[in-house]
Structures are given as C-alpha cells and as structure tokens.
Chain length 236, copies 2
C-alpha cells in the first residue's frame, strides 16, 4: 500500500523547457539582436540544461560541498551565453535568468491531479531543486506539499542514495510504502534500487523537438500517461 | 519586511499538555488502576515533557548522533512510568503513547490564523519535531506549510544555531525578513541572536496549573496575545 508520493519536479511536474525558452527569449532579446542566426530560446534552454548534470556531479563526487541549483545554474550560464555568442548581459539580467527556473509552469493536468492525490497520500518533492526553488514553483502553480525533501534536505543530488533513503525515513515509512514519481527512468531505477515503489509519467514533449520519455525503459510499479492517469491507477 | 514565518510548534501552535494528559489517561488507565493516589494525566505529561530537554541535550552536545523525538520520547517513557509507579505496560501501548505526540490538537485560533498568514507569507515549522511528526500534526489540524524545517532538516535541536540559520537559508532570505514565532522567550532570544525578527505568542495555560508565558521576557519584534492577534499586527 502506497502512503506517500515523492516527486521529481523538473520535467515531471513542470515544463522547464518552454519556461526557460520563453524567459530567455524575453530577457536576452536586447543582447541577441545582432546574431546572424537569430536566437532560439528552446536551443538555449537545452544547452543550459545540458550543463545541469555535470555541474551537479561536482557535488555528488564530493569535489565540492553542497551548492544549490541557483548557484550551479549561475555558474554555468556564462558558458551558455558564450556558446550562443551573446555578450554584454548585465549581472541583474543574468540573475533574473537564473530566477526563471523559479517561474516555470506546471504541465496542464498536474495541479488538479496533485489535489486528488493529496486526499489519501502524503506528497513531497524529491527534486534536485532546493527548498526556495520548490516553494516558488509550488506557490506559482498551486501545489500543496506535506514536506519539501530532496537536494535541500539531503545536501546532495539524485541519484545519490541519500535522497531516496532520507525521503523514506522522513515520512517514517517502509520503502515500499513510498512511491517515487518521475518522467525519467534513471531516477526510477535508482529509487527502485532502494526499495521504493516507482511510477513513470510519460512526458513525450519534455525536450521539445528532441522528444522525451513516452514510457519507462526500466521495470516500474506504475506506468502512467500523465499524473491524472496515475491518480486513477491509484484509485484517487 | 517579513516574508516568511517560522514556527515553534509544541506549546505555540498545539496544546501538548492537554493532548498528552488525555491520551495518557486513556491508554494507561488499565495499568494505573491500582495506584493509591489515582492517576493524574496532566502531571504525567509534565513529567514526560521535563525529560524532553535533557534528552535533546545528548544530541546537541554531540554525545550521540541525531535521533528524532519519537526515539527520545520512547527512551524517556520507562522512567516516567516508573516515577508514577505504573508497571506492566505492553510494548504496543508504549508505542501508541509515543505516537500521542503526533495526535495533538491546535490551540483554537491557530488553523484560521495560519490560513490568513499564509496569503502573504511563506510558512514553515522550525520545531524540534521531525518531518513525520510535523506532517501528522499538520494533517490533523489543517495546517498548510510551504516547507518543513527544524530538527529533521538540520539534524540537531533548538536552540543550536543551525536550526535558525538553516531556516533563513532554506527560504533564501535575509534573517530580518524571517519571523520566528514562539511562546517561549528562550527560543526567541536564540533566533534574535542570529538576526531573525521575533514574535512572542502568549500561552498562559501551556503548562496547565503551572501557567505559561503570558508575555515575552526578552525584547521581541512583536508581542501577541495569540496567533490571530499576530496576524492583525502583520496586517493580514
């Protein structure tokens, strides 16, 4: 019996690519006007996101102490701007661009589905985002969580074991009573290795033209077409 | 300007003494019948609570790794039972008694006041209770928090600096934008020493016949008669 649902957030609950593409287009337009090829917000979002995993690896490996995603995104932004040939972006605009990760919109069915799931389950993000980032996304989209777990709580990044183990322990449950919900098979494989139940949510447009996971590539407890479908499968 | 409110919970938001007194009376009645003096639930609650601070001190001092309040309460329970001359309490009843700390009721004005405060502020417990304890109390009483900070998040106990500093950092605020709300002057003095704003909430019946703090004994930013009064003072 599932008692708590713990969620991946970027890609699973919110559409990071459209949000970052739009905000990058808006904020960088004054500095990208001279580019011969024009500016592709989606490609910019992809390039920034591509630096996400290597930057977290510096923390996972122990090479540096825990630093939150705002810090990592701010560190990787100059390389992304340079790769796009964008120069002269003032510090306050760069800061605002990092904050765009706090202003992402949910996939359409998510807010109502979370409300249904919350009636009979505890809910918490287990994201690589820190507390403030989760609080901002939750307030913007009307998510109500029982706790905020994940990188801030565990001071490390998925798929390190601490994040899954700490989430189970925080709720005081058996691992099998805790359902990790994600659109990413690698996250679910890691959760399953610690005994958690797993639910895959299809997000075939997560990466825009490059697609996304339309289904799990690993064994899962539930495979859902979206979060509303998962709620139905759980009898909510 | 105050942007986040962080709350002490036991005594400030919930009435631990009445709750523990009632549950101890109910659960221990079969084992306390032979006592010459009868059984006083309130005195039992006071005796158990008196062991709360010394037990947390074993963690604060570094003498042992972090152990949550369920563990500490379970460890101190046998001494309290012995002090009251109560014997033969089975393990499952002892466990249920520890869980009584998860079934406490809010002071009457708290749920509605939290809803008002939540409109314009982020809210989080910064309690010595761990995540599951906060989740259970929140669900029982209809509290909606943005995050659960405190002992579980910081792996230590108030008034250690980490709890106040981690709360400020989790919300990404300046200390002065964070308001520590408590019915205990020592908690507020510790918060103020780290730059947080402070609000005292009077709980003159927290300790039953022994009273409680009817007002702060240290300088505070706000002194309120209850949480509804604090909401008014904050313009909510």
């Amino acid at each position: 019996m599932i008692r708590a649902l713990v969620f991946d957030v970027f890609g699973t609950l919110v559409d990071w690519r459209s949000g970052i593409a739009g905000e990058a287009g808006r904020l960088l337009a004054p500095y990208a006007n001279g580019l011969a090829k024009g500016f592709e917000g989606g490609a910019f979002a992809d390039a920034w996101r591509a630096r996400y995993n290597p930057s977290m690896e510096t923390v996972r490996s122990g090479a540096r102490p825990f630093a939150d995603l705002d810090t990592l995104q701010a560190e990787s932004l100059p390389e992304v701007l340079a790769a796009f040939g964008i120069t002269g972006v003032p510090e306050d605009v760069r800061r605002d661009l990092v904050q765009a990760w706090h202003r992402l919109d949910a996939w359409p069915e998510v807010p109502a589905a979370l409300m249904r799931l919350r009636r009979d389950h505890w809910l918490a993000p287990v994201s690589n985002g820190h507390v403030r980032l989760m609080v901002d996304l939750a307030r913007r989209n009307g998510f109500v969580f029982d706790a905020v777990l994940g990188a801030g709580y565990s001071r490390d990044y998925k798929p390190k074991p601490a994040l899954y183990r700490d989430a189970v322990a925080a709720f005081g449950l058996d691992p099998a009573e805790t359902l990790m919900v994600a659109a990413h098979s690698n996250d679910l494989a890691a959760a399953a290795s610690h005994g958690l139940a797993t639910a895959h949510v299809a997000r075939p447009r997560e990466n825009g033209p490059a697609g996304g996971e339309g289904g799990p590539s690993v064994p899962v407890s539930f495979a859902a077409t979206d979060l509303a479908d998962l709620a139905v499968q759980l009898g909510c």
